[in-house]
C-alpha cells in the first residue's frame, strides 16, 4: 500500500519506485518499492541518512540515474509517467514544469556564461521572450532573491558569486520558469545557517507565489520542520514513516524516526548527560534484508523484524509507519 492515502488529484503519483544498481558483485537495491503523492504547491521533505536512497529517488524522477542504474515502478506527473518517457519527451518536461536544484549550485551553472544570460536563456527558449525583455526579467528576479546590485551582478560569472548567492541564483531560475514541481537535493547543506535561512525563505516563497510543489531531500530534520508540509522518513531504501510534519515530529511512530529525533538536540530541550543515539551505522549497500532494513540497529526489534517486512500501518490521519510494533504498546 502507498504510504499516504490516495489524493484526489495529485501532481505527482509515485508507485513502487525501485532503483537497482548493477555492480561487479551483483545487483544493489538503493530504493525499494517507494510510493507517495505530491499535491500542487505542497512541500514534501524526504529525510534520511547516507545510503537511504533519498537522492536516488530524485535522480530517477529526473532521468539522471547513473548508467548502471535500473528503475522500475511509475511516477505519473501531470498525466505522464516520467519513468517511461523517451529522452526527447523528458527534455520537454525538464526545465519547464520540472526543475531540480543541487547541493552544489555550480553543478547546474555554466561557468562560461554570465549569470544574467543563463537566467534569460530559459525565458527565451521556453517562453520565446526577446533578448532584452528576458534580460530585464532576469535582473528583476535577481533583485527579487536579494542579490545586491542586481544589474551589475547579472553581467558577472558564477565564480564571482558566493555559495549562498549561487543557490539564490538557482532559485531565481526556478522562480522565472515557475515549474509545477521543484526537486531540491540538499539545497542548503553547504551553506551557513544565516544564508540557509535566506534560501529556505525563498523556497517557501516560490511554493507560495508560483504554486510550485517541492520535494526537498535533506538529512536535516530542522530544515524539514521549517519548510515541509509533509515528511517521508527513509531508511535503507524503504519508507519507514510518512505523514504531515507536525504529527511525525510530535509523535513519531517508527523507532528509526524516534531515534533520529532523539539524536537531534533542540536548543530549548532540557540538557541530558548524553545525547540520544542509534547504535550501529547506516546501512550501506549489500543485499536487501528479508525483514525491516532498520532491524539490525533497532533497540526494540522482535523476532519477526528480521524475517518479515512490516506493512504500512496507519497511526493517524494521513500518517503511517512500517513497523511490526506499530499499534502495539507505545
Amino acid at each position: 500500500m502507498p504510504s499516504t492515502p490516495t489524493n484526489a488529484d495529485p501532481l505527482l503519483r509515485v508507485r513502487d519506485l525501485t532503483v537497482d544498481f548493477r555492480l561487479p558483485g551483483g545487483m544493489m537495491r538503493a530504493v525499494d518499492r517507494v510510493s507517495f503523492d505530491v499535491s500542487p504547491g505542497e512541500i514534501v521533505g524526504i529525510v534520511g541518512e547516507s545510503g537511504s536512497g533519498k537522492s536516488q529517488i530524485l535522480f530517477s524522477l529526473m532521468g539522471l540515474l547513473a548508467r548502471n542504474g535500473v528503475v522500475s515502478g511509475s511516477a505519473v506527473f501531470q498525466g505522464q509517467d516520467l519513468l517511461a518517457l523517451a529522452p526527447a519527451a523528458l527534455d520537454r518536461v525538464r526545465g519547464v514544469t520540472l526543475s531540480m536544484i543541487f547541493q552544489d549550485p555550480m553543478t547546474s551553472l555554466n561557468p562560461y556564461l554570465r549569470v544574467g544570460d543563463q537566467l534569460a536563456e530559459g525565458l527565451r527558449v521556453h517562453r520565446g521572450m526577446a533578448r532584452r525583455e528576458a534580460q530585464a526579467a532576469a535582473v528583476a528576479m535577481l533583485d527579487r532573491v536579494r542579490i545586491p546590485d542586481a544589474a551589475r551582478r547579472a553581467r558577472q560569472y558564477p565564480h564571482e558569486f558566493s555559495g549562498g548567492m549561487r543557490q539564490r541564483v538557482m532559485i531565481a531560475m526556478a522562480l522565472l520558469v515557475r515549474p509545477a514541481l521543484l526537486l531540491a537535493d540538499e539545497p542548503t547543506t553547504a551553506l551557513d545557517v544565516t544564508i540557509q535561512a535566506q534560501v529556505l525563505d525563498l523556497i517557501s516563497d516560490l511554493a507560495r507565489e508560483a504554486g510550485t510543489a517541492v520535494i526537498l531531500v535533506t538529512h536535516d530534520l530542522g530544515v524539514v520542520a521549517r519548510l515541509c508540509d509533509r515528511v517521508i522518513v527513509l531508511y535503507g531504501g524503504r519508507i519507514m514513516e510518512a505523514g504531515p510534519a507536525e504529527p511525525v515530529f510530535d509523535t513519531p511512530a517508527h523507532p528509526y524516526a524516534r531515534g533520529l529525533l532523539a539524536a537531534t538536540p533542540r536548543l530549548t530541550d532540557a540538557l541530558t548527560p548524553r545525547l540520544g543515539t542509534i547504535p550501529g551505522t547506516p546501512r550501506s549497500g549489500g543485499a536487501m534484508l528479508p525483514g525491516c532494513p532498520f532491524a539490525p540497529r533497532c533497540t526494540v526489534r522482535i523476532a519477526a523484524c528480521e524475517r518479515v517486512q512490516p506493512a504500512f500501518t496507519p497511526v493517524g490521519p494521513d500518517h503511517a509507519a512500517a513497523c511490526h510494533l506499530t499499534g502495539a504498546a507505545p
Binding site: E49, S50, R146, P148, S162, D192, V193, T194, I195, Q196, A197, Q198, L200, D201, S204, H219, D220, L221, G222, V223, V224, A225, R226, L227, C228, A245, E246, F249, G259, L260, L261, A262, A263, T264, P265, R266, L267, T268, L271, P273, R274, L275, G276, T277, I278, P279, T281, P282, S284
Partner: protein, 323 residues
C-alpha cells in the same frame, strides 16, 4: 596558583598573500584578531561561528600549526613561541587535534593499528612493536572499536568509525587537550550523537580539555562549559554555557540562534521570512566598524564607524555598542 591549561592573550593570526600589482609586496591578510581566553583542565570551550569567521585558523594557531602574527599562547604557563623546537615537538603529545573529514585524515596505505600508534614514534621513541600494538588496541578500545580494527585499512571504515580512529590516534599519547575542528559535521545525524557522546565520555575518563569548533549551536550547547562566538575573525561574545543559551547578548549570537532550524515544525513555521538580510563583509576588505553591522537589525551610525570593544565582567563579555 596553578596557571590554566592554556591561556591565550590577544592572539592575532594571518596568512601571507601575494601583493597586488606588479611591484606589490606580499602582505599578511589578518584572519583572527585579538582573541583571549583561558581554558582549565577537563573543561570544554565551544567556538561557534560561520564559515570564514576564523574558528579553524584559531584552533590551528593554538597548536602552532599556524604561526600567530601577534599575541601569546601560554601552555601551562609557558609561552609556546619561546619553546625550543625539540621541547615543542615532545609537548605535542599533550595537545592534539581531530578534523572534520575523518577519512581524509587517515593514510590509506597504513593499517589502523599503525595509524593510531604513529604519534608514539615521536612522543615515546624506542617502543617495541608489540608494545605499540598493545597501546593501539587499548586506544581503539577506548573509542569503542574492537582489536581486529588494528589490522584493517581506512577504506573499510564508515565515516563514524574513521572519526573514532582519529580520536584514538589523538588520545594515544595521553593528551591534556584535544582541539576538535568540526568533528561531526561530515557525519550522519545518528553518528554525530555517538561521536559527541564518546568525546564527553573520554573527557570524563581521561580528564581531557576540549576546544570544540563547530557551526552547530545545539551540539555546542550539549558539550561545552563555555562558549565563544566569532564573526569575521573577531570575538563577538563569550559566556558560560547556561548564561549564553538562556540569553545571548550580542545581536549576532541572537541571529544565529534564530537561524538554526530545529526539529519543531510549529516553532519553525513562524521563523519563515525572518532570515537576516544583507551580505557578509569580505575578509580582504573588512568594515571599519562592527563586522556584523551590515546585517544587524539594531545597527546605528556608530556601528558602521567605530568597532565596539569586547567588554565584560570577567565571566561574560560582549562586543556590541548596545549590549
Amino acid at each position: 596558583m596553578t596557571p590554566p591549561l592554556i591561556e591565550v592573550q590577544s592572539l592575532c593570526v594571518g596568512y601571507r598573500v601575494p601583493g597586488t600589482g606588479l611591484l606589490g609586496r606580499p602582505r599578511i591578510l589578518p584572519i583572527v584578531h585579538d582573541v583571549s581566553f583561558r581554558l582549565e583542565p577537563g573543561r570544554t570551550l565551544g567556538i561557534v561561528g560561520e564559515s570564514g569567521c576564523g574558528k579553524s585558523t584559531l584552533g590551528r594557531a593554538l597548536l602552532r600549526l599556524n604561526e600567530p602574527t601577534a599575541g601569546q599562547v601560554l601552555w601551562m604557563g609557558e609561552d609556546m613561541a619561546a619553546m625550543p623546537a625539540e621541547t615543542l615537538r615532545r609537548r605535542r603529545a599533550e595537545f592534539q587535534i581531530i578534523f572534520q573529514d575523518p577519512v581524509a585524515a587517515l593514510d590509506p596505505r597504513m593499517t589502523l593499528g599503525r595509524i593510531v600508534s604513529r604519534p608514539l614514534a615521536t612522543f615515546e621513541p624506542g617502543l617495541k612493536r608489540a608494545e605499540l600494538r598493545r597501546r593501539a588496541v587499548e586506544a581503539l578500545a577506548l573509542v569503542g572499536l574492537s582489536a581486529d580494527f588494528a589490522d584493517r585499512y581506512p577504506h573499510e571504515l564508515s565515516g563514524g568509525q574513521a572519526q573514532r580512529v582519529g580520536i584514538a590516534r589523538a588520545i594515544i599519547g595521553r593528551p591534556k587537550l584535544i582541539v576538535c575542528d568540526e568533528p561531526v559535521s561530515a557525519l550522519d545525524v545518528s553518528i554525530q550523537a555517538q561521536v559527541v557522546n564518546l568525546l564527553m565520555d573520554l573527557q570524563e575518563r581521561l580528564g581531557l580539555a576540549l576546544i570544540f569548533i563547530s557551526h552547530n549551536l545545539s551540539i555546542v550547547r550539549h558539550i561545552s562549559h563555555d562558549v565563544m562566538v566569532m564573526c569575521l575573525g573577531r570575538v563577538m561574545e563569550t559566556a558560560p554555557r547556561d548564561a549564553f543559551y538562556a540569553a545571548p547578548r550580542h545581536p549576532y549570537s541572537q541571529a544565529l540562534m534564530q537561524a538554526v532550524p530545529e526539529p519543531d515544525p510549529r516553532r519553525e513555521k513562524g521563523r519563515l521570512g525572518q532570515a537576516l538580510q544583507g551580505e557578509l563583509p569580505s575578509v580582504a576588505n573588512p568594515p571599519a566598524g562592527c563586522v556584523f553591522a551590515s546585517r544587524c537589525p539594531r545597527a546605528e551610525a556608530v556601528c558602521h564607524s567605530a568597532r565596539p570593544p569586547l567588554r565584560g565582567d570577567g565571566t561574560r563579555s560582549v562586543a556590541c555598542h548596545f549590549a
